[in-house]
Symmetry: C2
Subunit: 432 residues, 2 copies
């Protein structure tokens, strides 16, 4: 077997196999460089569809692809499943969890963001967030288990608690989770239960600001709220969660019983951001210039959600499109270096934003190829098309297309599997 | 919501949502009875394809179906996700994990078998077996992780251990696992690694008896061995495993380093078998008469792998076909009781047996619709057809068909996801 002999070619180390990292690696395919893509997980996750795994419309394998498979036809790219734990910027080395290190000529750091519980880390057990396949499977487990436990209790004792689902945070993830829970309960679980009526489950979406989808135009926020309410989601704006316990959410003086609580309220940068040692913003994202470089280090790029870039006074939003474009642009700058050309600034080509609310319900702020704010079924169709198109891999595109055809035409979800523990935090601690 | 009021109709309680339980419930659809199907998991698993989930050809959702969905169009069937923990045969009650109980007029117990480590329960952590979706995902995690850790070590240090996979037990499950590991390493991981050569992984199948597939005709056993060896599996018969440790398997005086050890050597009855209180065989399976009743209890049926039935001196084998037929027959006997007719004995309609070895490799003992012993590609095609046909649910049949088309024509597996822990038992304890 081959030895890890040193290559004479220049080395690009990419940390993080998200949109930015994958795009950068793919864009460097023809370059005379040796790329090492490091990720502590073995797969790239199509995060915009994670909520569909959480609600059992799609399977984990439909939206996750091994990074090795994505790069298997690219001879200049190696994939390393390991954790980066620090940097030696002087020696141009990445320190790995195994204790070994990787030398680089260019370094791209794109490890994204994780949940932030605003100092209440103890809430993480009570209210999981949605960033990984593991998170999605855990949310799926809890949501499905709540219906099963309620049916069990009703069958065995004649009574069961109110099925309240509380989603905290009214950004796109919160909106999508709340809408999808409501769709699942109302549409896809029909005739599945004898003693409970899943369509009577209450879904509450709690947002601290005056409107949900705060980054969207006001009319789309209003439309999203109306569409959510139409499918039975209770939207509470200007509402701050002040505490929680297993089975309960506290909003000021009010106690809301909650069989499943989900967290979509805040994010903070991956710890690697601070470990680089450069100035960060309040979320821990690394403040970089329009070439994505931290001060004094043109050989280092910070891309994707981990980067804080301001262009013409506007901060680039932490979503998928700019992450892909940053990855592509970082590759372009490396190519410029190789060719001895000068570097260009990154500029964000904003095609728009979308958030789904449910079956035939969505909002879309379209900027390209034309400007429009769409709501309802037309926005939903745009969303379907765009998301199938952007999935990596023909197999995944085909399978997801078929799963959606199945789900949305026959009112049946995918395989609603409960795996792992059969305990629901707080179920047995109810005070009734 | 509805109350759990007592039904005037007679009650059938089915424990276990495997082949026998599901078949019995479906066959009673038109009867004036109230069926309660109890399973501690929420899904029916198509066990004959579990090994394909373990090797990432299929996703868990492709071969598992929520029991609720299977029975959703059957108004006389309720599904209860709970654990049966005991019986009160006098009062005709099943005791549940929740402390509640269920009364029955007829009881069908079909909770199957689980792994048996022949008194070495400490081996379970080292060498997982394959009975559930959770088992399959754990085996997938270990097998894929072994390749990732070897690549990591080779990339970072220039060396890695020999990739030995040891499968203990030469029955159908062991044969299928060993063959599938070899196929994955040789065919589906091509171009995925830079520092290791997955096709040089060693796969060892260890069997204590003089031949593998002991329940098959001798020529098929010999053919299976030859087919396995052709794809690189080392078959060791007459070989007893005497011990194991994380990273090692002991065979008498010999120590075999093993990055992943899998257990397919023995099964024992689900504990519910003994809790019924009737005579059992050495595996704990309940000895019942040809009407599937234990002595003196015509209202109780024991079906599937949990049942020990001898008909004309031959014990019915613990595989899928007889389990389905027993479920159907139990339903037939309940119908006879309802109609006031007399009961008939169960007879096993043996259509044959099949075991896959790999892509285009299998053995099939065909009894119906004609008698033949087939090997190789023809047997494999029969296997493909039969298994797609028997999957429950149109969606699963379509998706599995497409996944196979994809895998077997393009030499790519499904989504090879590693989820959960990133530790491999024994990896760091190697003594080299």
């Amino acid at each position: 077997m081959a030895n890890a002999t040193k290559s004479a070619r220049k080395r690009v180390v990419i940390i993080g196999g998200g949109f930015a990292g994958i795009h950068a690696a793919l864009a460097l395919a023809e370059q005379p460089v040796e790329i090492t893509l490091v990720d502590r997980s073995n797969h790239h996750t199509f995060q915009p569809l994670l909520y569909q795994v959480a609600l059992a419309v799609l399977s984990p394998g439909d939206i996750a692809q091994p990074i090795r498979s994505i790069l298997s036809s690219q001879p200049n790219a190696r994939v390393l499943m390991d954790e980066a734990t620090g940097f030696d910027l002087e020696a141009r080395k990445v320190i790995l969890g195994s204790g070994n290190s990787l030398e680089y000529d260019w370094l791209l750091v794109a490890t994204g963001v994780t949940h932030s519980y605003f100092g209440h880390d103890e809430w993480a057990e009570i209210a999981p967030g949605l960033k990984s396949i593991e998170d999605a499977v855990e949310i799926r487990r809890r949501v499905l288990l709540a219906f099963e436990l309620a049916e069990r209790e009703a069958l065995e004792t004649g009574n069961h608690p109110e099925l309240n689902f509380v989603v905290i945070g009214g950004g796109p993830t919160g909106v999508e989770l709340a809408g999808a829970i409501s769709d699942t309960a109302r549409l896809y679980m029909k005739n599945n239960f004898h003693y409970i009526d899943p369509s009577r489950a209450r879904v509450m979406l709690i947002e601290g600001l005056p409107r949900i989808l705060n980054a969207y135009p006001e009319d789309l926020s209003a439309s999203a709220k109306a569409q959510l309410e139409k499918i039975g989601v209770e939207v509470h704006v200007n509402t701050m969660v002040t505490g929680m316990a297993p089975g309960y959410v506290y909003v000021g003086e009010k106690t809301i019983p909650s069989v499943v609580t989900l967290w979509a309220a805040g994010v903070k940068a991956s710890p690697l951001g601070r470990l680089l040692g450069f100035p960060t913003d309040k979320n821990g994202c690394v403040i970089v210039d329009p070439r994505m470089n931290p001060p004094g280090h043109p050989e280092i790029f910070v891309c994707g959600d981990l980067a804080h870039i301001e262009i013409n006074g506007r901060v680039i939003p932490p979503v998928a499109q700019p992450a892909m474009q940053m990855g592509d642009h970082a590759a372009k700058l490396i190519k410029a270096d190789i060719a001895g050309k000068s570097r260009s600034d990154f500029s964000y080509f904003d095609k728009g934003d979308m958030a789904t609310i449910g079956r035939k319900a969505a909002v879309a702020r379209i900027v390209w190829p034309f400007k429009a704010n769409w709501s309802g079924a037309p926005a939903w169709l745009v969303w379907l098309t765009v998301h199938v198109f952007f999935l990596i891999g023909f197999r995944n595109r085909l399978i997801v297309f078929l799963e959606w055809l199945w789900t949305y035409s026959r009112f049946k979800g995918g395989s609603r599997l409960i795996t792992g523990s059969q305990e629901l935090p707080g179920w047995n601690e109810r005070k009734e």
